[in-house]
């Protein structure tokens, strides 16, 4: 690649500068604009042009010298070639089509489900007696405050039911041999002492067990028995006996459980087993442990009951925890009024615990806990205080979450408390702290929460040893930016908090990305180890008299706190057709699914009503339960008494209960009118479309193409690469160019990728599995058929309108400065002082979000300069330094090098002035409490990242963006790469500002999720379609209304009996029902939403007599 300025090029070729500009405009010189009015062109293109124009080729060499650019591509190119060769060699010859996932937390579960759904058999190894990991312990998830159990439960249930997943609980890996494609993993399966097949989860063993021990699921805040289940919604829901504490197993007497077990499931003779599994690849997702603050004597965690960790606090908040959702402090079981959170306990600390990294999630966790505990108890305003170093709300929507917490009156104090001392009566605590201005306070709190960080435990280190993979000094698995889920051992992939501290969405993304990598190397063995699930034959129920079963969910206390569920149950019993009613704590949990199945058989139920949360999230789960019980999945209705009732009528329990009764009556009435529906299948275009040719788009395209799916990649510009062209190094210190060149070369040479540059999407039609678009590229319109689409349209640097940007050329944006550094290698010697200003245009009223990458970016450049010239003064003016995760090391290094960090607040922003030729910055230093004036040679603005506002595309594809224009994912925690429109996925910065490795990860995850659709030749259509009734007289009013051209007007019959009728094409029909509302005579209807069904709901809501018939 050659970079040039137009005038320099004109000078060299001895032509007018307009000639060069015209060449660029006309496309004759295929140069792409770079920063600072420069252009970039490939050497080949230029040679070609010179040849055409008869310009001597030697001039090219001059051009490079003339601009003083050293191209580092060719130097690194060799490495890339080797890299590619190594990659090819690592692809196994005859791989085994099954995979071992180590760790049954959300990461392991997600990876397992992705692989099992795309044609690979999965073994999940979990150390404890149930899967789920940390997530079930959490009360709510940020930033939506969704109930964590409710969103993880369906995944756990799906996992335990999956035909192609073998769940190995109470198991651990003890050895591994073999190579990529063919590993043998040795598993030690510890005895459960209870036969899973005989256990009916009645809990009698636990009731009768005399031995009580601390309950680790409740973080030791309550006691459990030695015969126990991990938590009430455990998956699998089978009891186990804890061999280390059981009286019989330790002291050879008791056996009470054995005596009382009604099914004879207890088996004390069970021995540990050693099992060997042959697998093609391995995913390690062993998760995290939290830091134990007992060693920090000044926080008195061990001695004071009201000082708890953040995970303990989660249990105290949780409906399934020791306080049943009514927060009480441990010392005296009183509702605490005033609560303090202390951040960075055991993180960013090399004094007492050697955890130099930032744990990434604790700030948001503390904010969430402060917000949700205000719902739980009602102390006076401002009674919740968060003591912090820096609030790191760097994820999507988290800055708004933080601002919202401030608006709610949660107090944020920048102070690291000196100590926690007992208050009188041994309840509560006194915190001693110093504020930024040096004042010292002693303040009383009812409770203190220590925001402890994440750690790699010795057990997890053992896993790294067994698998012989490289780890960093903290024990996190070592990875590279180009493939952040690949360990140092081929065929072994790493995901979740094993590669560094992270929150749920990033773990879920990791999981799918790892699944994608596995699918790439095992592609030859796809579908060789899997089996199809066969459902029992459906019982005929359409004309049968409704026998409805009603299941009413308490949702912990989410519903039961507002709605009188027992009154609701009594009411349900009186409704017509209802033969069975039950109230469950969590209707979505695995045990309830088994219970529903059981009740269907016991009471011969043929219709089910679930009064719980939203059908949008949970109907699929219950439909699956019905299918397994031999009932048509459309014979269910849900009454949404949580999201659309209990949660929104919290202060009107009586009217809410009344509404719940109506909702239930509506569901019961509708379900009685439901009839079995059957799906049809349509062929899938096993091709993908990727929009955007940046790092994310290319990564997605490669991941899909490597799984053998034809992929179209369309790029708006005339070259691939996007923002990566402007970056020099990743935060891990790797050169970006080689990564970029690797991607471009692989994409352009991949036999299954077709790249269209200068391209625009012109049209869009179809549905998941069968999309069709026209793409215009260089004046030619191509028609593209595809089954899935990944959107990776990127984002860019915003243009600042402050700090004299544009008035003084020494004030520049981050990317301009990076370019300047590259062009001017002596910059660090010539300059005496450089000021970086952070959050320029971010975290303000115009853009109320954190641009996430700028802190580390500025620090990275500052370090580079300071290392080159230690005498150079560098100042970083910031609002909070957000070097989350392992990037914290950069921050520490910068401070060690003597880079000066000065904090400013939004209300007191720095100002930039010029006197003569002297440029300076005024800022108030909160530590010395002094105004400062810094004379400087450069001012670097860390400007906000803005999404590319692509109106045309969003109009065409109808995806949703948030208020700042970033594309919204379907669910921030559990569907972080899916869009609301089925078949669409998102990756990279168009979703939110991201680092290169994060974009790559998200792209791989998107490819993994997309390949679930592409992996099957046919896909099942939804059964919600329109159908023509006998009332249709062929008036054809509906034909034009249909937005999908699914309705046709056909002539049938022979000459004697010729008439016109309406027909519906099921592949095109989406069940929107526009035809229904247009038809004046009920000649066309939509299954599941017929006029009769909807009318029955109206009548039920109004409690008319007809409703009761």
């Amino acid at each position: 690649m050659i970079e040039f300025r137009v005038n320099k090029m004109a000078e060299l070729l001895d032509v007018h500068r307009n000639t060069i500009t015209n060449w660029i405009k006309s496309g004759k010189l295929k140069a792409a604009p770079s920063v600072a009015k420069r252009y970039i062109v490939s050497k080949e293109e230029l040679t070609e042009l010179f040849r055409e124009e008869g310009i001597p080729a030697e001039l090219i060499e001059k051009l490079k010298i003339a601009n003083g650019i050293k191209s580092n591509i060719s130097e690194n190119f060799k490495d890339i070639k080797e890299f590619v060769e190594i990659k090819k060699k690592t692809l196994p010859k005859k791989p085994i089509g099954s995979v071992m996932v180590v760790g049954g937390g959300i990461t392991g579960i997600q990876a397992g489900l992705d692989l099992a759904d795309s044609g690979y058999y999965v073994h999940i190894v979990e150390k404890s007696s149930a899967v789920g990991g940390v997530m079930p312990k959490i009360d709510k998830t940020f930033p939506t405050d969704d109930c964590a159990m409710c969103i993880v439960s369906p995944k756990l249930v799906k996992c335990v039911r999956h035909f192609n997943i073998n769940l190995l609980t109470l198991s651990e890996v003890v050895g591994v041999s073999g190579d990529v494609g063919n590993f043998t993993v040795k598993i030690k399966k510890n005895p459960r002492y209870i036969d899973i097949n005989k256990c009916i989860s009645c809990g009698i063993c636990s009731q009768k067990c005399p031995k009580k021990v601390d309950d680790e699921f409740n973080e030791g805040l309550s006691r459990r028995k030695a015969a126990y289940i991990k938590f009430p919604q455990a998956v699998p829901l089978k009891y186990s006996i804890d061999g280390a504490n059981c009286i019989y197993l330790t002291r050879n007497k008791c056996r009470a459980c054995e005596k009382f077990c009604p099914t004879g499931a207890i088996n004390f003779d069970e021995q540990e087993e050693i099992l060997n599994y042959n697998v093609g690849a391995i995913i390690l997702a062993p998760g995290l442990t939290t830091y134990d603050p007992s060693g920090l004597d000044f926080y008195n965690y061990k001695n004071m009951p009201d000082v708890v960790t953040n995970l303990e606090f989660e249990r105290l908040l949780s409906a399934s925890g020791p306080c049943f959702g009514h927060l009480k402090r441990p010392s005296d079981n009183k509702e605490p009024g005033k609560i303090a959170w202390i951040q960075c306990v055991g993180s960013r600390n090399i004094n007492r615990c050697d955890n130099g990294y930032c744990s990434s999630v604790c700030c948001s966790v503390a904010i969430k806990q402060a917000i949700t505990s205000s719902h739980h108890c009602h102390g006076e305003n401002g009674c919740r205080t968060i003591f912090y170093n820096e609030i790191r709300a760097h994820g999507k929507e988290l800055e708004k979450y933080y601002e919202n917490a401030r608006d709610m009156g949660i107090r944020f104090l920048k102070a690291m408390p000196h100590s926690i001392e007992p208050a009188k009566d041994d309840s509560g605590a006194i915190i001693r702290y110093m504020t930024e201005d040096g004042s010292i306070f002693n303040e009383n709190f009812d409770m203190v929460v220590l925001s402890v960080g994440m750690e790699v435990s010795p057990e997890i280190r053992k896993i790294s040893d067994i698998f012989k993979i490289n780890v960093d000094k903290y024990g996190f698995a070592a990875t590279e930016s180009i493939n952040p889920v690949e360990s140092s051992r081929p065929g072994v992939f790493v995901a979740g908090t094993f590669t560094g501290p992270k929150a749920i969405p990033k773990s879920v993304i990791d999981a799918s990305a790892a699944a994608c990598e596995v699918a790439k190397i095992l592609i030859e063995a796809k579908d060789t180890k899997t089996h199809e699930k066969i459902y029992p034959e459906e019982l005929v129920a359409d004309h049968a008299e409704p026998r409805t079963g009603v299941f009413i969910c308490s949702c912990g206390i989410n519903i039961a706190d507002v709605i009188d569920v027992s009154e609701l149950s009594d009411y349900a019993k009186k409704l017509p057709g209802v033969v069975y009613v039950e109230n469950n704590l969590f209707t979505c949990s695995a045990d309830t699914q088994a219970l529903i199945s059981g009740k269907i058989k016991e009471f011969n139920l043929n219709r089910i009503v679930v009064a719980a949360c939203s059908p949008l999230t949970h109907e699929i789960l219950f439909q699956e339960t019905l299918k397994e019980a031999g009932i048509n999945p459309y014979l269910i209705e849900m009454a949404n008494i949580r999201n659309q009732n209990a949660w929104v009528h919290q202060n009107q329990p009586e009217l809410a209960t009344q509404k719940a009764k109506d909702q239930l009556c509506m569901a019961v009435t509708k379900v009685s009118k439901n009839y079995p529906l059957f799906t049809q299948s349509v062929p899938v275009h096993q091709k993908a479309l990727v929009i955007g040719g940046g790092i994310a788009g290319m990564s997605a395209a490669l991941s899909l193409a490597d799984q053998r799916y034809d992929t179209f990649l369309i790029e708006r510009d005339n070259r691939l690469g996007g923002n990566a062209w402007n970056l020099e190094r990743t935060n891990k210190g790797e050169a970006v160019r080689p990564i970029l060149e690797y991607f471009i070369e692989n994409v352009e040479n991949h036999p299954q990728i077709k790249v269209l540059k200068n391209a625009r999407l012109k049209s869009f039609a179809g549905s998941v599995g069968n999309f069709v678009s026209e793409v215009e590229s260089n004046g030619i319109v191509h028609t593209v058929d595809y089954g899935v689409c990944v959107i990776a349209t990127g984002a860019g640097e915003s243009i600042p309108d402050e700090y004299m940007f544009g008035e003084d050329r020494r004030v520049m944006t981050q990317l301009q400065f990076e370019r300047e550094m590259k062009l001017n290698p002596t910059l660090s010697y010539k300059a005496k002082s450089i000021v970086f200003i952070q959050c320029v245009g971010s975290r303000d009223s115009k853009r109320p979000y954190c641009s996430r990458v700028c802190c580390a970016h500025s620090i990275k450049n500052a370090i580079k300069l300071k290392e080159a010239n230690p005498l150079l003064d560098i100042f970083i003016l910031h609002r909070d330094i957000r070097t989350f995760g392992l990037q914290e090391e950069l921050y520490k290094k910068a401070r060690d090098l003597g880079i000066i960090f000065i904090r400013y607040y939004l209300k007191n922003k720095p100002t930039v002035k010029r006197e003569g030729n002297e440029l300076y910055v005024n800022i108030f230093d909160p530590i010395s409490q002094q105004p400062l004036r810094i004379y400087t040679d450069y001012i670097v603005l860390a400007t906000a990242i803005e999404p590319d506002q692509n109106e045309e595309l969003s109009q065409l594809l109808k995806y949703y963006v948030n208020s700042e224009g970033f594309i919204n994912e379907a669910h921030p925690n559990l569907a972080p790469v899916e869009l609301a429109v089925e078949g669409f996925f998102v990756a990279g910065m168009c979703n939110y500002p991201k680092l290169i490795d994060e974009s790559i990860l998200q792209a791989k995850a998107a490819a993994s999720r997309a390949s679930l659709i592409l992996s099957k030749k046919d896909m099942q259509l939804d059964a919600i379609k329109s159908f023509v009734t006998e009332k249709c007289d062929g008036c054809a009013l509906c034909v034009d209304v249909c937005p999908f051209k699914a309705i046709k007007f056909e002539e049938i019959g022979d000459n004697r009996d010729k008439h016109k009728i309406i027909t519906v094409d099921n592949a095109l029909c989406k069940g929107c029902g526009l035809c229904v509302a247009t038809c004046p005579k009920g000649g066309i209807e939509v299954h599941g939403f017929t006029l009769e069904q909807l009318k029955s709901q109206v009548h039920a809501a109004l409690n008319t007599t007809e409703a009761l018939n």
């Binding site: 939506t144 405050d145 969704d146 719902h375 939203s614 059908p615 949008l616 999230t617 949404n640 949580r642 999201n643 659309q644 009732n645 209990a646 949660w647 929104v648 009528h649 919290q650 202060n651 009107q652 009217l655 809410a656 009344q658 509404k659 109506d662 909702q663 509506m666 109009q955 109808k958 949703y960 948030n962 919204n968 609301a980 429109v981 919600i1024 209304v1041 937005p1043 999908f1044 989406k1070 069940g1071 929107c1072 029902g1073 526009l1074 229904v1076 509302a1077 247009t1078 939509v1086 939403f1089 006029l1091 909807l1094 009318k1095 709901q1097 109206v1098 009548h1099 809501a1101 109004l1102 008319t1104 007599t1105």
Partner: protein, 146 residues
């Protein structure tokens, strides 16, 4: 003591925007009066005028159709079609002796939980001001007779 008038409102919520927005209102705990009974439909354009008329005839104090914002319809322009029918429905309602203000059509996206709550609050207030459905009396008599 006379009972406080608690109107009954039938809401037809489209599956993609309004119903999802209603769910979000729950997630963010945006409070609104408990008078609306939600009926999930695939699209606001699916609601047959007969359903609206039927609901009001049977004694509902108000009917509200909620869909995606114009231009954001999951089915291209189903909401525009729904809106095109509104005037006709209003004329029919007037003929029946029902205030056309008892029927409304509004747009709420799947992200607008707060707005969902506000829309329902405002509409409920509007219906409370109008008082009970004039047809409800007849209907109640009817009901008793049966």
């Amino acid at each position: 003591m006379p009972d406080k008038f608690e109107p009954k409102i039938i809401g037809f919520l489209c599956n993609w925007c309004a119903y999802a927005g209603g769910d979000v209102a729950g997630v963010i705990r945006a409070q609104y009066p408990p008078n609306m009974r939600p009926i999930r439909v695939m699209c606001s354009g699916m609601v047959h005028p007969d359903l609206v008329v039927e609901a009001l005839k049977m004694g509902a104090d108000g009917v509200i159709i909620m869909g995606c914002h114009i231009g954001q319809c999951h089915y291209q322009d189903g909401n525009s079609k729904a809106m095109a029918r509104v005037e006709v429905v209003r004329v029919v309602l007037e003929d029946m002796g029902i205030e056309p203000e008892r029927f409304a059509i509004v747009w709420v996206s799947s992200a607008e939980g707060k707005r969902f709550a506000k829309v329902i609050t405002d509409f409920t207030d509007q219906i409370k001001t109008l008082g009970p459905n004039p047809l409800r009396k007849d209907f109640e008599l009817n009901f008793k007779r049966v």
